[in-house]
């Protein structure tokens, strides 16, 4: 039950985009079409889950015994970069179809600040392995949800008459502001 509460709160209430402002670059860049949003969302869930669990093992089984906690940042970012590269190579070799769909999103994920944030957050909150796993599925699930809703809105926005200065990204930020209002009201859920 506690894990479920944690899942809901990480996914909806402390949504990574609307309340923590992380992963804005893919949020703005890939949210123009629903297909792309789904592809990116799935890739992000996979990478965040894998990278967070690996970082958890790296931290508690390598860095802590060696008293190298201050190397956390350097180790995590290298681990994430290597993991993304590895996943890309693995998918390319074993499933060319999937690679065609997800391939272009994978390199973008290394610079997604959400990945590094989730890996570090699991450590600073002192989560155990199970909690780490739940948290690292819930956060990117919230990211994907947001990305899909946003893509749907932007698809409908395309034919509309927007003031010239607001065309493109500025109007997208206005939409994000309105969505943030809506999601604030979910805070009473847990």
């Amino acid at each position: 039950m506690q894990l479920f509460t944690m899942f809901i709160s990480a996914m909806l209430i402390n949504n990574i985009i609307l309340s923590k402002f992380l992963g804005m670059c893919p949020f703005m860049g890939v949210s123009t079409r629903l297909e792309n949003a789904v592809g990116m969302g799935v890739a992000v869930i996979f990478v965040i889950f894998g990278a967070s669990v690996l970082s958890w093992f790296l931290y508690y089984y390598v860095l802590v015994p060696l008293h190298l906690e201050y190397m956390e940042l350097i180790c995590f970012i290298l681990l994430i970069a290597a993991f993304v590269q590895f996943v890309e190579m693995f998918i390319k070799k074993n499933s060319p179809g999937l690679y065609k769909q997800l391939g272009i999103y994978l390199p973008l994920i290394t610079t997604n600040c959400a990945v590094l944030y989730v890996a570090q957050d699991n450590i600073t909150q002192g989560y155990n392995l199970l909690e780490t796993m739940v948290n690292s599925v819930a956060v990117p699930a919230g990211f994907m949800l947001m990305l899909c809703i946003f893509a749907c809105i932007r698809e409908r926005l395309q034919g509309n008459d927007v003031p010239k200065a607001f065309e493109g990204n500025p109007i997208a930020f206005i939409i994000a502001a309105i969505m943030a209002v809506a999601f604030t009201s979910l805070s009473g859920l847990v």
Partner: protein
Amino acid sequence: MSETKVKDNFFTRLLTDNPVFGLYLGICSTLAITTNINNAIGMGVAVTVVLTLSNILVSAVRNITPDDIHIPVYIVIIATLVTIVGMVMQAYTPALYSALGAFIDLIVVNCIILGRAEAFASMNPIGPSARDGLSMGFSYTLSLLAMSLIRQLFGTGIISLSNPFTNTEIFAVRLIPEGFEIPMFTSQVGAFLTFACLAAAISAYKNHQSAKAEGVK
């Protein structure tokens, strides 16, 4: 380069090529930490320091880095610098460090820094790279300052600044009478709205400039 050209260049940098509102780089930290002026200046200075030093180092190793692994090399350089800056801030400005929280570490994945390393420092000598880092960092800091001024003014009605080393207030002026402030501006909603309006203002300025350029032709 003549005096006016330098000045011209500076303003173009600041307005049309603004890393935050023009190129949409480093948005995450811009939205998250601009609730007050202190945080904005602290973050701006931290990013400027990291950006300048990383540009210098990347430019210094640009000829001996194998092409295949240049990104990991740059990331290690940047992560090392961020760790150092984080430790220095934790020691000398603990209040600022705890206010900025995870965003100090997240400077590593700030697109501006890797972007400048890749697009400028890896192809240019040390001097110009350092200058590029400083000017990019400066316009990033000014963008943060603009956001935080608006958000703090409308959100709390007070403009204040404090000394990060001793955590004492330097000055605080109430510009909007009590009860008339709009707390929404300090929340997430205000961050998105302020950002949208500033980005629209920059884009309106750009449209105006290009319309003027066409008129001249």
